[in-house]
């Protein structure tokens, strides 16, 4: 079956521009997560969705970062007024909830480069 799909796979933008990153989770997965992977900071949690609500936003680094999820499926991570330190790979993961559904399955990420 299809895995977690992320788009675009690569994004290059100028400092100060806004960017939107998209995640399509595995069908039927109710939980969705965004993480960021950078050389200096490793893999960091950003935000967790259960359905369309986000009970844990504790990892968002600043108010320039926001995310939404609609229809319990697709999610968009938006970064406003991008800074060079935002350059990283942004990873999305999804999981089933309940029972043995703790396994998080990752997409291949969006590599974001801020010039």
């Amino acid at each position: 079956g299809a895995g977690v799909s992320q788009s675009p796979s690569n994004k290059v933008t100028e400092k100060g521009k806004d960017v939107e990153l998209r995640c399509d989770p595995i069908s039927g997965h109710t939980a969705l997560y965004w993480y960021r992977q950078s050389l200096g900071q490793g893999l960091e949690f950003l935000i967790y969705f259960q359905g369309n609500s986000a009970p844990d936003k504790s990892g968002l680094p600043s108010d320039r970062f926001s995310a939404e999820r609609t229809g319990g499926s697709v999610s968009t991570l938006t970064i406003q007024r991008t800074q060079q330190e935002d350059s990283a790979v942004y990873l999305c993961a999804s999981s089933l909830e309940g029972g043995g559904g703790r396994a998080q399955h990752f997409g291949d990420g969006t590599r974001l480069s801020i010039l």
């Binding site: 997560y33 893999l43 844990d56 504790s58 703790r102 998080q104």
Partner: protein, 112 residues
């Protein structure tokens, strides 16, 4: 308390040897400990996971050993192959929070 400490940072093993990667945690609320394998340009792929009610779990050549009292867990890769060359991450989470806390990663190189 949310940290997961992983070692070594890099590891070179001969083909057929055993690769061992170690992780330690502080948060006693953690109740799920997965290991991920990541190849360049790809997302992390779930390899194997364990819960604290068992001390060992084996899947093929991959084994997790878990020591609850020491708050440590490790990944053993038996009969290591060049195709196992990748970066490995340990992680932990708890029922309440769900977000994974990752170790810093181990770059494994298996020499033919």
């Amino acid at each position: 308390q949310q940290q997961v400490k992983q070692s070594p940072q890099s590891l070179i093993v001969q083909k057929g040897g055993i690769s061992i990667i170690n992780c330690a945690y502080e948060n006693t609320a953690f109740d799920y400990f997965p290991w991920y394998q990541q190849f360049p340009g790809k997302g992390p792929a779930l390899l194997i996971a364990i819960r604290p009610d068992v001390s060992e779990k084996k899947e093929g050549r991959f084994t997790i050993s878990f020591n609850k009292s020491a708050k440590q867990f490790s990944l053993h890769i038996m009969d290591s192959q060049p195709g196992d060359s990748a970066t490995y991450f340990c992680a932990a989470t708890d029922t309440g929070r769900r977000a994974l806390t990752f170790g810093s990663g181990t770059r494994l190189q298996v020499q033919p």
